[in-house]
Symmetry: D4
Subunit: 176 residues, 8 copies
């Protein structure tokens, strides 16, 4: 349960707490949409069975989407997907070398049968927003609320662009 | 409506009918799970407004997930995502050169705000399965049915592996 | 109209004002050649219809070339090109990861039918110069003026190389 | 002069006649728009001075845009651009290895001062269309005619997409 | 037990029997060195727990080295390594696209703590030879025998090079 | 002999002492497992024969595994492997440019006949752990001790993950 | 000695006779310039000492340039360079996967101190021509002869381009 | 003439003086071997004819080898090679993005007929040493002197490795 006693709808997991500075943006997006979530450190390579147990039990505990972030030979998202029927969103976390290209390919190139919904390198905010869209596909009240809220969010994005557009025109007119 | 008169839950779109040999595997996966879907050719570059209109109207017509496939400078999935609140799954279609790396990066590297759930190069079957998982996250009856069905699907995958395992051991024992 | 009341001949657009530090070099090049231009923030993903409207109306307002910069899954140049008959120049803006390779491929690998004139990663200055060359192809007085001016510009580049050549020879002769 | 005695507006050059199977699509696009062009084999590495002479004299002979295709260490487009004030469009021709990535980078990564308008790997048709758009930016009658013609071309592209859309829906409805 | 009733010293596993045409070369190398091995199909994504069970039990059954081949998001070698203390050799199997670069990075870029001994793309023969070298490091009789045998193998490689050298010189002298 | 008078079981070599900041992590891992090792600077390109002599004599001096680190055109691991029957572990050391991709390919893509066990870019700690696993495959007392020790090490890794998991949950609960 | 009893000036070596179909083009170029050469199969990994002996003795036997071709982890050119004072030209031979990018990086990224003159992937003909240019730098009669001959060769290249130019113009004029 | 009044044997040219911090290492290597050289800034794109004139006249002025450094679409080495019969050594200068991969491919992938001897990204010191080896292939006194000197240089490299080896062993023995 989250701090308001609500059942988490999203599981936000990562292989190490060193991934948190990247992954926290997923949590922030969920909070903006008032979607309760849980966090956890589950390592595919250091705690393989515990990771599978988490994935296998998630649906029964009420989780509806799992977001998993990992870097390098990033096996966590795919392994979580292997042990759950829920949609799994993978975030390629960039490491010191190779700019996250290894993380991206290790997550996105899953074999037929076990998909992972992959977002951009370091794209944890979009992972959170993709979880919201997934819940927005719900046929019930939650879906309706989130579709409405996402629609407003997109209108806000548009407004911000218009503001930036005005600001840029002014700067250029002012000869900056 | 599909041939049984059911409202399509998934929109399966692509930039050109030349993408169909790749994308049809998404449709086949949906059919295996008895998920009604519609198909369409919508080009981001040749029919931009019609493509946006399709995306903008999808949710109201009952569509819950959109799968979009494209190759090269593959803008279709991201542009569809810009005009809907629904989850959009992107399939990088490989073209003659570059092995789909251009398609992959053009789809997965979306800016913060507008996510696309990307699958592997040519991974249309997994796009279909990801759409199923997305619908399996539903809080209603559909979700329960699809979670149960996906669970069975995964058990079948496991059985197939066991069969292949036996067959390989026999081949090797037979000195092949 | 620009600050001298002249109709802008070039539209210089980008997906976010965060692209301005890169894209301003295009504006500076246009200013050096005394070509009036307008700027704007138009996001393919956050304001898709407004972006298409801008592109569709540009020619009638007197714009002759559009320069569009974007990063990551850089769809702006290609989408602008889809809605105008004018030449569109794309600038791949490098983001934090992947050194702009994603931006480059997303811009340059356009499908047959809708070309984008792509310059180097971060090459906004060259985008400005390419716009000048495009206008220099004009059959009227503008073209003649710009061809003459570009010819002088190239002579100046040559002079600068000669100066650098002398300076380097002196430094080396001085044992630096 | 072309076969109708008209002054060529576009120069279509390549490093070897082995590039012609790729580059001829540029010529076909120009023909569709009734734009007269000339062809030539000019090698940056085998005939450097003749190549520079061609580039330097093009504008005075009435050429308004040059299209140059080359593969591998593809220097032709950039070297042509160094010797003319006209816009130069570069086509990366893919060779036996590396899928044209070497050609692309050798053409697009030009230094500040000398731009090349680069199209996709093997994208000669788009090079032709980009030349048309460049001429469509003309302030005179030619520009007006080509803008109108390009507008019709884009409408035709749209129609073709609609036809493909119908055909695909029928095939899928027919259970293909 | 292998066909001679000996305990297998090497476990040769892969995610699918479609990997066998590549992986059988590992088995052939082991046979050349008279090292008993077992084969099996264990999928990280389709049979995750069975795969972990296999890995966890391997050492107690007498297996000393595991060779694991996989393609795409190739998680098998790393996941096997997570559940055993034995050395695990990973073979990147090339798939239809990307030439095995995805497989290579997914196998070799393991996080600190859980190493995988990676060989070349498609390098199953070398995986077999590396298993032999690993057993050749044994302090007992097996090690002595295999070091001696590997030494002879390397001498044979040298002889083959000398033969090829003579043959090539003759061909060239003969003007071929 | 190491400082305790024990015969080194692992040779830890590199092409230059500038590789030591990366490679020392291999030594630290060996020390954690109480495996005696020797270090040395042997350059494939600057001291080719001395490097081959080292490799050729290693087994007779009691060395059982060689770890070799190198960057760029990283030939050391492969050349060491050419002159010994022992398993050789290669560490791709990243240099100033290309993020170690050149080092990785130069080490891992060995031809059939001469394998190198390659670890991740900069992955010297894993090279040390892979050497431990290789010795853990030993049939004697050493193997038993190291298998037991590696098993404990993996349990410690698991404990660390659990600790990080708790810490992260607390941080998130505290609203950090 | 070559078939005319002349001392070979160029050593043309490769790791395997399977490289000959690529490497023979180097020999053909040398023959065109009447430069005597010797061939040999020397494997860096299968015959390391014999390879070093060849390299070390080449200068004293009159060889002036060595051309070495290899694929994958292509160590031969760099290792030959480590054991001779002569210029060594490296030819990256493409293998089944990765299009020769591994071969290229393994050859060209040599550490400071031991250079290899690298040509394009599969560029054996250019390796032969580079050997000719190297000998053309000679201060004696050989150099004068080869400079003159290379000058003629370049004139012939130019003539061929002119012929291709005429042929292409005719084909296009004929409406092909 | 250099400062001692000697005819330069090597021409060391670059596209811009901003390349000098990289390229000066080539000059330092030449100075170590007492080989006179000249420097110059010649831009393929800004001073194409002057660059060709330099290349065409080099041999007659006594230059025997040209070293050319350039970055991005690095055309200078190839264009110099097109206008001289001398061996040309190309140095890929890394720019702000892409780590010099664009420079490397633009230099090394020359078409058949016009070779460039390419060294590593930023490898100007090796370019200088390769020029020395090229002159060491000379049949006269200069060649003999440089072969002897290069032999000593290689012995010095070996000594440095031995010193580093001792130093590293001491540091490790001291527990650093």
């Amino acid at each position: 349960m989250d701090s308001d006693g609500r059942t988490p709808l999203v599981g936000l997991v990562m292989g190490s707490d060193s991934d948190w500075p990247v992954m926290r943006e997923a949590g922030e997006a969920l909070t903006e949409f008032d979607v309760p979530y849980e966090v956890g450190v589950y390592s595919a390579h250091r705690t393989p069975r515990r990771m599978l147990d988490y994935a296998a039990g998630a649906a029964d505990r009420g989780v509806r989407v799992v977001i998993a972030g990992a870097g390098g030979a990033a096996h966590l998202p795919g392994m979580v997907a292997s042990a759950t029927v829920l949609p799994v969103i993978g975030v390629p976390v960039p490491l010191k070398y190779l700019d996250g290209m290894d993380s991206l390919l290790s997550i996105v190139q899953m074999p037929a049968g076990i998909p992972v919904a992959t977002v951009s390198v370091g794209g944890a905010r979009n992972a959170g927003l993709l979880a919201v869209r997934t819940l927005a596909a719900d046929s019930g009240e939650l879906g309706a609320r989130l579709r409405e809220r996402m629609s407003r969010f997109q209108a806000e994005l548009e407004t911000k662009v218009l503001d930036k557009d005005s600001a840029l025109r002014e700067r250029v007119a002012a000869g900056e």
